[in-house]
Structures are given as C-alpha cells and as structure tokens.
C-alpha cells in the first residue's frame, strides 16, 4: 500500500519534471478518447433522434399496396372508400385506423404573399390515433367525416400566419384547392413541438380535413392504403392477417400484397446508423492506438534518460518489480489523465454539438467507461515494454551511464 502511494508520488514528480513532454504525450490519448466518445455519442444521438422521428410518424403505421400484374394496374388494384370499412371490420379491432393516404394543397390568396396550407385528408377514427396536442377547439371527428363537413384543424403556426392568433375556432378560411374555391371553418388548433432537425426531416406540420369533404368520396380511389395498427395488437400476426384480408378482398395471392411498415423501416435505419457509428468509432479507436504508441515512445526515452537513476535505485535495493511498477505507474497516470481530459473534452463537444443542431444528446455511460478503461489499458499495455526494460537493466551498466 505504501509502495503504491510512494510510486504514485514519484511518478507525479517525474511527470511534473517534464510537463511539456507529458502533456504532448497525453495529447495523443486525449484526441483518441475524445474522438471515440464524440463519434459514438453522435451516432447514438442520431439513432435516438431517428427513433423519435419514427415514433412521431407513428410506429404502428404501415402502407399497403397491391403489386401490379404484368406491370399493369387494373381498377381493382386501387383502394376505395368502401374498402376502408371492409378492412377495418375484417381486422376486428387490430387495426385502429385506415385512410386512402390523401393529401391536398390549399392556397389562401393574399394581397402580398399567398399562404400555402398542406392538408392531410383524414378518415374515421382519426381522433383516436392523432398524436398531437389540441390547444383550441377539437380534432376532426367521425361526425365531420360522415357529414362531409367543411371543417379544418390547423397547426398553431398556420393559425398564427392566417389570423395572428391561435384563438380562431369558428372562423372561416377561403382557399383554392386544386382549382376549386372552398370555404372551411376552423374547428380546432393543435400544437406540435418540433426541433429544427425534425422540421428539416419531417417538414411543417399539416392541417387536417375530412377526406369526404375534399374528395368526391364515392368514386375516389388511391394506390396506397395508409393504416395504423392498434397499440395492443400483435404486429407480426397483424401484418399477416392484413395481407390475407386484402388479398382476399382484391382476389389476389397474399404474396402479391406489399406492405411497408414504419417499425421495419425504423429497424433498418437504426441498424445502418448503428453499424456506421461502430465503423467510424473503430477508426477513431485507431487514433487511440497511435496515442498508446506515443506513450510507449516517450516512456522508452524516459527510461533511457533515467538509466542512472534506475541504477541508483537498484543499488539501494529496489527489486526489479519496484522499478517496473514505478514506470508502469507513470505511463498509467499519463494515459489515465489523458483519458479523463479526453472524456471531458469529448462530452463537452457532444453537448455543444447537440445544442447547436438542437438534438437530444445520448451519452452511453458504457461507452465512456469503455473508453477510459481502454486508455488505462493502453497506458499499462504500452508502458509494459519500457518498464520491463528498466526493471531488467544491469545495475552496474546503469550506474556507469552518463
């Protein structure tokens, strides 16, 4: 125990005696550790961010379509309003919502600049799956849809743009939709907190309108079916059942039904991002290796420089192990200090970067622990050869060294 403390004190003394050199040696480890932590944390944060985006889009969501036969679509391959009810009923509660994936653009004419309103054409039960916070009025409900009412729910930002206030329920908007003049009454306003990065990825939040009002509902057909599974539904079984239901409905084979699920896509993106950050992290780890070699180099210089000191210590009765331990302690201190500084530096970089791009930062404690443990291992590992060289020096030769 005393030996440990004495070694520690002696090592600090030696490091202090060569401040500049020790600092430069540490720099290798500092750069290595901080880049590993920065890169891995950026990767983790990106994955976390992407997962959040997918959750925002709806993790229960899927898009279904039929594959054309011989490259051509027949009329029966398209989905109609009636199909929605059939599918919902056949899925027996496993499907929370289905629509025809309709979008339209409204233009509000203004003297200066026209206002563009992007509208999602929603169907029955949208209320139950809409993942937004209503701040005024209400969401589009089934009565709006069944009654083909000219109602609209606006995002707060658009409401402010048009009326200058979010308190605008009951007001009427006049707009042009696909060449037709429409009048829509605002029944609700919702708020959605979005970071700059989310905005870039997902775009502005959209307004909601009953599809039945915008479309001539009876003969409207689309290519895709946009569905949300119920939260408690068994997804894998649900996918299979939906495929079978649609195949039967469209008189096709289940293999001819295609489905893209958000969950699946999220998994893929997560995997790609995960392996990407692992690969870049591994490259960064090489700089850690270079840092380790730097430590070995400087320790070899130090051992040579202090040959005489080693000789004196041996003459005074230091065991080979004492000498080895002394130099190992020194290299371990250099690399551990570098590791701590590098970790601080890396974490600071990640936090600042997170602030700049406005993304929630994820720092895996395991990564930090691993990086610091690795740096200590580098110090001891690369310090071993120089320390052994010192420990095995011939005391007579060492004492004679000038």
């Amino acid at each position: 125990m005393t030996m440990l403390l004495e070694n520690f004190i002696m090592s600090l003394q030696a490091i202090r005696a060569n401040k500049m050199r020790s600092l430069l040696t540490m720099l290798g480890v500092i750069i290595g550790i901080s880049s590993v932590i920065t890169i891995v944390s950026i990767g983790d944060s990106m994955r976390n961010f992407m997962t959040d985006q997918y959750k925002d889009v709806g993790i229960n969501r899927a898009m279904v379509y039929t594959r054309p036969l011989d490259g051509f679509y027949s009329d029966s391959d398209y989905f109609t309003v009636d199909d929605l009810d059939i599918v919902l009923e056949a899925m027996n509660g496993d499907l929370a919502y289905a629509d025809l994936n309709g979008w339209s653009n409204g233009t509000i004419k203004r003297k200066s600049l026209d206002i563009n309103v992007e509208m999602q054409e929603v169907a029955k039960h949208f209320e139950s799956i809409a993942n937004v916070k209503i701040i005024e009025g209400r969401m589009i409900n089934d009565a709006d849809i069944n009654g083909r009412r000219p109602h609209i729910v606006l995002p707060e930002k658009t409401a402010l743009e048009i009326f200058g206030t979010a308190k605008c329920t009951g007001k009427v908007i006049e707009m042009e939709v696909e060449g037709e003049r429409r009048e829509l009454t605002v029944v609700g306003v919702y708020r959605k907190e979005m970071s700059a990065a989310s905005l870039m990825l997902l775009g502005n939040p959209t307004a909601y309108v009953p599809y039945s009002y915008i479309r001539n509902a009876d003969n409207h057909m689309t290519f895709y079916l946009n569905v949300y599974f119920a939260d408690d539904a068994d997804k894998e079984a649900g996918y299979r059942r939906l495929t079978n239901v649609i195949a039967r409905m469209k008189n096709r084979q289940p293999e001819e039904i295609r489905m893209h699920t958000v969950a699946e896509e999220m998994q893929q993106v997560d995997m790609v991002l995960g392996s990407l950050s692992l690969a870049v992290g591994a490259i960064a780890a090489i700089s850690l290796l270079v840092g380790g070699i730097g430590i070995m180099n400087i320790m070899l210089v130090s051992v040579t420089e202090r040959t005489r000191e080693i000789g004196i210590r041996k003459a005074l009765g230091a065991q080979p192990w004492d000498i080895k331990f002394q130099f190992l302690t020194e290299s371990a201190i250099i690399s551990a200090a570098g590791g701590i500084i590098g970790t601080t530096f890396g974490l600071a970089t990640v936090l600042i970067l997170g602030k700049v791009v406005d993304i929630a930062v994820v720092v895996n404690p395991g990564t930090v622990l691993l990086a610091v443990a690795f740096s200590a291992a580098v110090g001891i590992g690369f310090g071993f050869y120089p320390a052994s060289k010192a420990a095995n020096a011939d005391p007579i030769e060492a004492l004679r060294y000038e």
Binding site: T2, E309, A315, G317, A318, Q319, P395, I396, L399
Partner: protein, 243 residues
C-alpha cells in the same frame, strides 16, 4: 576473534567480451571483520572496481565463494541480491548519486521505502540520520541546492538508514575539495568508532591513511594486505565549513 563480515575464497571474475576474455580478478582471498576500516587501493585496471561490484552484490564472481555475513552471495539470484543490497550494504559513490528533483529527506528514505518500512518510522529514521551527518536543517533541500560535501553526507545518511553490515564507499572523496574530503573521512572515522564496518575503495594515499588496514591490488591480484595506525582527524577540521 570478531565476526567476519566479508569472506572471499578463491574469487575470480572473468569478463567475456567475445573476442577476448579479460580476467579482472584472479583467485582473491580476503576476510574483513566486523568493525574494521579498510582501504582497497590500486591503479585503474587493477580490479578494485570489479571487487567493489562484487562486494556490493551488484555482480557475482565467476568462480569462488563470497560470504556476506552468513549468506553465500555467489549463488543468489537478482531478487535476492537486491534484498541483500537493500538490507546489508550501504553504498557511497564518487558522484554522490542522489536521485535528482527529490529532497534530501526523501533520498534518505528511499532504501527504507524499498524495505517496506512504515512511513512514520521512515521519517523518524531519516531525520535522525540527517542530524547525525550534520544536515538536520537541510532535509527539504533538493540535491542541486546542496554543496558537494553536503550531497555526500546525505548519501552517507542514506547508506546507513537500513543499518547495513557494511558501508561500501567507492572513491567517496573523488569529486570533493580538500576540506570536504577531510570532513567526509572524519565522518567515516567517527562512524567506524561507533562500530560500523567501512570499506573505502580509493587510489589516494591521503584517504587510505585514515584506515586501519590497507589492501592493495594490481592486475587483478591481491598484492599486499597491511594493518596500520590510522591518521586521526585534526581537531581543527571539525565543524569546518565545506562550502
């Protein structure tokens, strides 16, 4: 008859430099008893440095036996030799060999650190020995803040901390001026009179004059071994300033 500290029996040392073999020591027999003050003399190349290395357990004889007290050093491995150097031998070198950037007190403590002695005991012993060599107030000085004579006295204190069986000094006054040399020899004489066995390797007759026995070497062989009446240090030299 007093106990033998050193017993060399037919000791030879051969250096194999590849092309030629150099026989540095040839069949040396030597006994040094407890409490003696011995000078080992000889020109350079006489083998006295080789003998010094063997006596100091830094090297082992090629053939022959070397007993330090009861222990047969000629069969020891490097670890055991380190322990012997630590506990039984006190080294004093020509060039002082203090550890740089380390206080006098820490330097004196060092052999006790390697002997795993507890901290408080170390501190007490180191302070006592610094006081014994007249440097009680220099404990926190670094080696480069001390004069040559002071450095050598720190080295002597360091050599004594583990109560060795023998003090082994290699040209201890070689780097010192006359005044300091006198002081160091005086210190050795005083230590010897307290019972410490002192072996001094030197080529200076004035230094050897302080010793009660002079052993001379030439070409690796012991050529003479004489007892003499040692010079007692002049009272005037006592307490002289060595700066």
């Amino acid at each position: 008859m007093s106990k033998a500290v050193i017993r060399l029996t037919d000791v030879s040392k051969t250096y194999d430099t590849g092309a030629i073999q150099v026989q540095a020591l040839k069949h040396v027999d030597l006994v040094i008893n407890e409490g003696e003050f011995v000078a080992i003399m000889g020109q350079s190349g006489s083998g006295k440095s080789t003998l010094m290395n063997i006596l100091g357990c830094l090297d082992r004889p090629t053939s022959g036996k070397f007993y330090l007290g009861e222990d047969d050093v000629s069969v020891m491995d490097p670890k055991e030799l380190a322990t012997v150097r630590n506990k039984k031998i006190g080294f004093v070198f020509q060039s002082f060999n203090l550890i740089p950037r380390t206080t006098a007190l820490k330097n004196v403590e060092l052999p006790m650190i390697y002997a795993r002695r507890p901290k408080t005991e170390r501190r007490r012993q180191a302070e006592a020995l610094l006081a014994r060599v007249g440097l009680a107030d220099r404990g926190d000085h670094l080696p480069n803040e001390l004069s040559g004579g002071q450095k050598q006295r720190v080295a002597i204190a360091r050599a004594l901390v583990n109560q060795p069986q023998m003090l082994l000094a290699d040209e201890p006054t070689g780097n010192l001026d006359t005044g300091s040399s006198l002081e160091i020899m005086e210190l050795f004489t005083a230590l010897n009179s307290e019972g410490v066995t002192v072996v001094v390797v030197t080529h200076e007759e004035e230094i050897a004059a302080y010793c009660g026995r002079v052993v001379r070497f030439k070409d690796g062989q012991l050529i003479s071994d004489l007892l003499q009446e040692p010079v007692r240090p002049a009272a005037a030299a006592k307490g002289g300033d060595d700066r």
